[in-house]
Symmetry: C2
Amino acid sequence: MSNSDRTGRPRVVVIGGGFGGVRAAKALGHADVDVTLVDRTNHHLFQPLLYQVATGILSPGLIAPALRRVVKKERNIRTLLAEVVDIDVHGKVVHAATPSADQLDLPYDYLVVAGGATHAYFGHPEWAEHAPGMKSIEDARMLRSQILGAYELAELATDEKEREAYLTFVVVGAGPTGVEITGQLAELAQYVLPKEYRSIDTRQAKIILLDAAPSVLPPFAPKLQRYTQRQLEKMGVEVRLNTAATDMDSEAITVKGPRGEERIIARTKIWAAGVQASPLAAVLAKATGTETDRAGRLAVDPDCSLPGAEGVYAIGDMVTTVDRLPGVAQVAMQQGTYVGKQIANRVKGDHTTPAPFKYFDKGSMATIGARQAVADAMGFKVTGWVAYLLWCYVHIMFLIGWGNRLGTLYNWVRSLRYARNRGHRLISMTGAQEIAERHEAA
Amino acid sequence: MSNSDRTGRPRVVVIGGGFGGVRAAKALGHADVDVTLVDRTNHHLFQPLLYQVATGILSPGLIAPALRRVVKKERNIRTLLAEVVDIDVHGKVVHAATPSADQLDLPYDYLVVAGGATHAYFGHPEWAEHAPGMKSIEDARMLRSQILGAYELAELATDEKEREAYLTFVVVGAGPTGVEITGQLAELAQYVLPKEYRSIDTRQAKIILLDAAPSVLPPFAPKLQRYTQRQLEKMGVEVRLNTAATDMDSEAITVKGPRGEERIIARTKIWAAGVQASPLAAVLAKATGTETDRAGRLAVDPDCSLPGAEGVYAIGDMVTTVDRLPGVAQVAMQQGTYVGKQIANRVKGDHTTPAPFKYFDKGSMATIGARQAVADAMGFKVTGWVAYLLWCYVHIMFLIGWGNRLGTLYNWVRSLRYARNRGHRLISMTGAQEIAERHEAA
């Protein structure tokens, strides 16, 4: 199967429908090119809110609109559901596989690779089955089943030790994602679930957040780090710093910290620590004779182009630049727009060397739970509910589509403390069984 | 594992958290009894709106609130996530299996069995894999992946015949569920998807609704049947009556009707025809030495009690009564309340023979799509948007919780024709692959 030459116009292939890929494609929406946007899912995922799907606040659809709807108005963009398996940078063809396992060849004049990143388990890939992370809607749904399933199993448990094992939750990694999911775990245990159970007191659940670093939220200002830790502790979270995971099995996690090594019996472990670039980074590195870094990322030129591969750009979490930008949505989005505009200019005949990509840091923020947040932006350091409102505003506005914005806002109101509800708490028996099987295996 | 005697009060076990089970449990919320509500899912499912999950209008959470939240205020009801495997009506014990495969024994003084129904394929269980039905959230999600996945695969197809096969949808069964999902398939093809695809014209999709009966919506008034058929045909649906499915494979469905036998090439087949009572009906029939009917239903006495099993009641889709009530939510709900009250009376010492259960028929309604519906209630026969508004009102009010009511209303507004959106369109690669594999297998 081959990409028929639709119009004779330059062909741009964009791999990945995340923050970077969508911005790149949209920046080409009015250019005289044919754009093909390829993704292995049918949706554009707003990853920063995945933890709210995992804890029942949001329904998956609100943060994952159909990709082809996102680019519906750009008539020169077509969207294809397929998984890229190889990139031939010399022949200028992307090889993909369709869901029906047909081969799909996509010749390009320009290529934008925005493959993102997955979890990294620091050389312990076997931990993945014990401590799932959150990168896809499926991950978040499974995590939701495991978290809520743990309470169901605790309610059924007849043995006190077993009950405690189900009611202990360990989050590894105290960056924004780790802090945010920990805060929601505490809200579930303290405010949402207590009155729904008869045999257990969900407020007795033990929630532990650990990080090898000496503070939570490493990239934030020390004042905000201290505030965050204090708030989490007020919510009953045990924050363990300078503490690393050293081993893990279905039953427990072994950690090493200031108190020495300790085995914590906990059925639910959540991974929010390392990330690893998409395997496409390695594919491109091999094709151009370069190497990826420790996190599997590809080095690109200051204009995000890939040395040794004509017309190829790589952006987002899968690349590193000389200025070592953080792996956040803002960087990918700005790089996407930058690369899209650059291609549009080149198609128009402008072949001057573009100004290097420059990241405009709009700041960082994280919610803590119980309507608290921290924001570190433009020199201001804000905490409490002011930061929380700021966080809400920014995240709502970055969602795509007013329908999703209003729907998300609505669910946030529903989750407020007086309502004490989480509207989206479906669990699959499989998820509950997975938690249970860990127990069986142990 | 055994059910510890919590208070010494009479123990009521309710099996099934559907319409019947929840009503029965709630009717006992103020009685001097300990109620145990057992379900193999953690949610109370509002089945009449499942087709809206399958077609992307509603998120699953809106029609499936957590069961234990539904009975949160009734402090004498505990909810357990487990699957009932056997019922010992002589020893008065329910045997269940927890997600961790532990055995759970629930002794009872009174038992309410409300196990519902599943699909029936008229002696062709092998059709289940080709023509999925809708009874659970998982069913609806999988169907959504298959319906939207079919369009994705049509967009990728290079062969015209293959494309047509993906763009042909056959719904078997023209009762309310069949009519409602057919209407939504037509809306997707005609109004929602056209502008999102580049290689296919989704308006060319062929949508066929077939039924062995001579009219659509068999239980409705002839005037409403004719109106419904006309509206569906206006939306491009091919309605084939007096037509039955005779064979099915991954590639096609064979039907027999007035035009003789015909093999229709269609990748997506949806089953909305027969239902089969929960296997618990057979368990109870065997235990009491009776037999189930052709649809696997159990015969109960006029007071919904089971002859030959002391203290056991069975209600809803899994039973038949002398007055042959339809298998609808209203019947199950009314029977649930009736049985709950009866048990409450008996516990208070009132052992007089209760008045037989009497069904109060509030009428039937069905949406057709494009803001059209039919309603046949209290002697009134209403069509068009008036019926549609009535339908909306009734269905919103029967949802549990204001949060879900408002959320559902919001998604209905989003799905209106001017917005032409469906907010919840996530598909899993597995769903798309399942459709594709049918093609491979063929």
